[in-house]
């Protein structure tokens, strides 16, 4: 009894667990239950039940409601789909002037808007692409094919790779100094020599459109949300869902709205990249001290000046993290949007993975990563750039970079010209090294993979078998064995114990949505994979983070490593694991673990760093050992921060699990992937995406609430 009084929370939790297990044992598995038979879309089976809602028929296998809830939301995907099609094809037809046919044409409004939007995106991408690689579309857009025929000089080729490489090096030098310039030059040269120039430039042109647009929109909306409470309130729920929505899931509805190709990819990328940018902008602007704002006002700033010269620069740190995220998402999407026909490295990567050509995949992946890191570092350097007011420079000194670039252009053109004479018969390597005509290391890697496979096959196989048979399958079975009611009780109970009625209601709503969708079983599998990944990632991340924190150099080193790893597009993580484990669940899980370990490690370190130095010294002075200090002072104080890391870890893990569908899993991701090639997949894809987002949000809500209380308790904020 006394114990109960001393630890009331503990007993409440024990009680909750007891109820949960009791429910699990009390409710038997129905005899007819077989995994993945929740929904039957195509087969008509007399055992199925059906209901009609909003004119949509939903068929499903009915079970005891305690075991699995009926998919009462089964009409939702179909409804979304029909609505989308209605919007696109029938809603608000209007007369629009058609440039090509020189006449008015009737078109639905939404279709017209999306077509104009995509035309604009296409134009931007093509413009950059043609500067880099050559082409006529842009010039034709301003003139006509006849004009081109009359003026053959306008058929300019793209820039020779030498100019682009040297130009990026000069830009890097101007922004970030010698080191960055060297990196730029080396990576560009690498890309060219290894025959990845064309796809790389295609990807780059995509990024150069998507990233700035996402940045501008994110910043603009962030500012709007900062200025108006109403805008913020309207945006916030969307932002939350988008933050946890897997990128795959956005692809499908966007496919319907914007068609296939690079332009659609840009728009999708913006949809995914803008939310974090908005959130971080808002966060940064909120954190600007009021006195700094007043100082700006007293300096006589107009509203515009206050925003552009005081608020945004002061909030620079958070905004930069936003930029970093935007770039990260853009590169991630550069790969994923290959599913909907975007060209470039991503397409090659997917193709290679599909053919199990690990070597080729590795090359493409490496190029994406190189460019990603370059752009990331350049944007950082740009934001931190200083102006020198005292240099009394003459014209030449002031414009030396531009002049230098001019010289480079001339040299590059001359080189290309000589190249065209020298390499008369073959390819002009000084202009562009054609795809797959460069040096290729693919064979080397493939042989390496083969060698590893031959040599370690037994061990790998044994490990694989052990993991799958002894760990994964039992775990999965356990998750699937949970009756829906028991899960609900557990989740809602946890919500209540952590955050009271409000939290319980939110969590209950989120869980119910998933439970009432046709994919509860799949969601359980997704959750099981994510849970496994998160558990392992956290263990590794917390351990590594703590160890690295013992020393200043290793701390910085680890943070840098995290930075770089984070810049890799998520798909790249699939390459090495497929190399080692082939097409199995193990591969997916290991990719999940690697990917999710990044935030776990980072937040552990940052959490430990956030412990005030004063406390550190005080503890040392009072004679505690290193271990005592770690467990009695640093961990408890760093815990809120570390829990936010857990939050990120979960989101990362979920993303990777969904991406893992590409390798082949039996969870929500698999259905999302299926929806991609389904003409009526938009509704399904979106609903599935929302399900995944909700899984993330359930944890997000619980963790955030808990962290908030914990912070209050510790008196830190």
């Amino acid at each position: 009894m006394e114990l109960l009084k001393k630890y009331p929370k503990l007993f409440q939790w024990l009680f909750l667990l007891a109820v949960f297990f009791a429910l699990c044992f009390a409710i038997d598995v129905p005899e007819t239950y077989k995994f993945i038979r929740g929904q039957a879309e195509f087969v008509k089976d007399p055992n199925q039940s059906a209901f009609v809602f909003l004119g949509k028929e939903v068929r499903y296998y009915a079970f005891d409601v305690f075991w699995r809830l009926p998919p009462l939301l089964g009409w939702l995907p179909i409804w979304i789909n029909d609505s989308l099609f209605f919007l696109m094809n029938d809603w608000m037809p209007m007369e629009f002037w058609n440039e090509d046919t020189q006449e008015y044409k009737t078109r639905p409004l939404v279709l017209q808007i999306t077509r104009n939007l995509t035309a604009f995106m296409t134009f931007l991408i093509e413009l950059i692409r043609e500067i880099l690689l050559g082409g006529l579309e842009t010039i034709v857009a301003f003139t006509s094919w006849d004009w081109i025929d009359a003026n053959p000089w306008a058929e300019l080729p793209g820039l020779p790779w030498t100019i682009v490489a040297a130009g990026s090096a000069i830009l890097a030098y101007k922004l970030g100094g010698k080191g960055l310039a060297l990196y730029a030059l080396l990576s560009m040269t690498y890309i060219s020599i290894f025959g990845q120039w064309k796809p790389s430039m295609q990807t780059l042109s995509f990024i150069l459109v998507a990233a700035p647009l996402s940045f501008i929109f994110g910043l603009g909306l962030g500012v709007a949300a900062y200025k108006s409470k109403r805008v913020e309130k309207a945006l916030y729920p969307i932002l939350l869902v988008m933050q946890t929505m897997p990128q795959y899931a956005v692809l499908v509805p966007a496919l319907v709205l914007f068609g296939v190709g690079d332009h659609a990819a840009v728009i999708i990328t913006m949809i995914v990249a803008v939310p974090p940018m908005i959130l971080l902008t808002l966060l940064g602007l909120r954190a600007v001290p009021p006195e700094v704002i007043e100082a700006g006002r007293m300096s006589g700033c107009s509203n515009w000046q206050l925003m552009s010269k005081v608020l945004i620069p002061t909030a620079r740190r958070d905004i930069l993290i936003g930029v970093n995220q935007v770039i990260m998402v853009c590169f991630s999407m550069a790969v994923i949007s290959a599913f909907i026909g975007a060209k470039g490295l991503g397409f090659n990567l997917l193709l290679a993975l599909n053919q199990l050509n690990i070597g080729l995949a590795l090359e493409a992946g490496l190029c994406i990563s190189l460019i990603a890191i370059l752009l990331d570092k350049m944007s950082l350097a740009w934001a931190n750039k200083q102006v020198d007011y005292f240099g009394n420079l003459n014209f030449f000194q002031r414009n030396k970079n531009s002049l230098f670039f001019g010289v480079i252009v001339i040299i590059g053109i001359l080189l290309a010209y000589f190249g065209s004479i020298y390499f008369k018969d073959g390819y002009n390597y000084l202009f562009e090294v054609p795809h797959n005509k460069g040096i290729s290391t693919a064979d080397f890697w493939n042989k390496g993979v083969d060698w590893i496979f031959d040599t370690f096959f037994v061990y790998i196989k044994a490990f694989n078998t052990w993991l799958i048979v002894d760990v994964l399958q039992p775990m999965r079975a356990l998750y699937l064995r949970m009756p829906a009611v028991a899960t609900l009780v557990l989740v809602v109970g946890a919500g209540y114990l952590i955050g009271g009625v409000r939290s319980a209601l939110v969590v209950c709503g989120l869980t119910l949505f998933i439970a009432l969708s046709p994919w509860w079983d799949r969601a359980l599998v997704t959750t099981y994979m994510a849970t496994f990944g998160v558990l392992v990632s956290c263990t590794i991340g917390f351990t590594v983070g703590t160890l690295c924190f013992q020393n200043k150099h290793s701390t910085n080193f680890m943070l840098n490593v995290c930075d770089i790893f984070q810049t890799f597009p998520s798909f790249v993580y699939l390459i090495p694991v497929m190399m080692l484990f082939g097409i199995t669940d193990t591969s997916v899980l290991i990719a999940v673990i690697v990917y999710a370990t990044i935030p776990a490690t980072r937040y552990t370190i940052e959490g430990l760093r956030s412990v005030p130095a004063g406390l550190h010294d005080a503890a040392t002075m009072s004679g505690v050992t290193k271990f005592q200090r770690l467990f009695k002072i640093e961990f408890p104080l760093a815990f809120p921060h570390m829990m936010l890391g857990l939050n990120q870890t979960i989101v990362f893990a979920l993303f990777m699990v969904i991406i893992g569908a590409f390798i082949g899993t039996e969870d929500l991701g698999q259905y999302i992937l299926k929806a991609l090639s389904d003409k009526k997949g938009a509704g399904i894809g979106l609903t599935l995406g929302i399900c995944v987002a909700f899984i993330g949000l359930i944890f997000d809500n619980l963790i955030r609430t808990w962290v908030g209380q914990r912070k209050k308790h510790l008196g830190i904020d």
Binding site: E291, E294, M298, S299, G300, C301, P313, V387
Partner: protein
């Protein structure tokens, strides 16, 4: 006398949703308690005063007494709920946005307790900031900023970032920035409160030196009574948004208007505050020695001279005319006994 530079008439600032309606209903009789019960916080309560050209008014009060709020009303960083404010005869509350910006760009400078420097700009850029906002050419503004750097003694550090400076140095930047546009009116909100006592003293002296040179009209805010006494031409003492007393330091020490003010003045060493003219007597026919003291001297500085005299000492004005007398007993009385005489 010419027009006052700053003039406040019954200024109120009340925070809360229906502050304006409540103020109207209160009919000029604002009671903090009843307002609080209705969810309103009274920041400034019926403040009326004038500051004339070249004068330094120090606003003193404990934390939360509404000093900053008053200052923010006068700089219109926040709009007063009621009352009128005139800056050089212009009705501040009637200015439109553009006029207000013009006023701030040319007439007003402000220094903040937490320095409020822009973290992404160097010392020089911070100081040049108000100039660049005004639209002055980069080269000119940088040159002007460099002059200000020299004025506050930060030469050699102009390319540092705020985070690389000590608190005192950061505040020097803040001061230089507020002076860069050569404003007539200078607002300082607890500029030295965040500094160590030693640095604070140094900055106060520096500040007096600057003011000697620049002769600005100043509103200086502090919660430190000693600082107020040291700097002020006149002091306004605030409590719960109300100005309890506004007077010269000597008068505040000699004749505290309320119990609250008296408590403040109790511990104050009078000889450091009062001038000879505050305590001198009429010209007497007593035998006066050769020594003369100026009526504008602080007692502390001349006490020893007078006390060693044992005679009544003549008091002179600036032109060396005798305007009064003072005897040593009076000094002793002021320094040691005076405290209980007031009530």
């Amino acid at each position: 006398m010419s027009e006052p530079v700053i003039k406040c008439q019954s200024v109120y600032k009340i925070f809360g949703a229906n502050a304006e309606r409540m103020l109207k209903e209160a009919n000029g009789n604002v009671d903090a308690k009843t307002f609080q019960e209705n969810g309103c916080i009274v920041g400034v309560n019926n403040a009326s005063f004038e500051v004339s050209k070249g004068e330094m008014l120090v606003v003193m009060g404990l934390s939360g007494s509404g000093k900053s709020t008053l200052l923010r009303c006068i700089s219109r960083l926040t709009d007063a709920t009621g009352g009128k404010i005139f800056i050089e005869g212009q009705d501040l509350l009637n200015l439109n946005n553009k006029e207000l910006i013009d006023l701030r760009r040319n007439k007003m400078g402000m220094v903040f307790q937490s320095f409020a420097l822009l973290p992404h700009k160097t010392v020089l850029e911070n100081i040049a900031f108000p100039l660049q906002i005004k639209g002055i050419k980069t080269e000119d503004s940088i040159n002007k900023a460099m002059d200000m750097v020299k004025l506050v003694g930060l030469d050699g550090r102009e390319n540092y970032f705020p985070r690389e400076l000590s608190g005192g140095q950061q505040q020097r930047v803040g001061i230089a920035r507020s002076l860069a546009v050569e404003p007539d009116i200078w607002f300082l909100d607890e500029p030295f409160s965040a500094l160590d006592p030693l640095i604070r003293k140094e900055m106060q002296d520096e500040f007096l030196r600057l003011q000697e040179k620049l002769q600005k009209t100043i509103m200086f805010i502090t919660h430190d009574f000693d600082e107020a006494l040291k700097l002020a031409d006149r002091i306004a003492i605030m409590k719960d948004g109300i100005i309890e007393q506004l007077d010269t330091p000597a008068n505040i020490v000699l004749n505290p208007a309320t119990e609250y003010v008296r408590k403040f003045t109790e511990e104050v060493p009078r000889e450091k505050v009062l001038l000879i003219k505050d305590v001198m007597d009429e010209i007497t026919s007593d035998n006066m020695g050769d020594i003369k003291v100026s009526k504008d001297e602080i007692i502390e500085n001349v006490a020893e001279k007078i006390l060693t005299q044992e005679k009544t000492v003549a008091v002179t004005d600036g032109k060396n005319n005798i305007v009064g007398s003072i005897n040593p007993a009076k000094i002793i009385n002021t320094v040691f006994g005076g405290r209980k005489n007031n009530h």
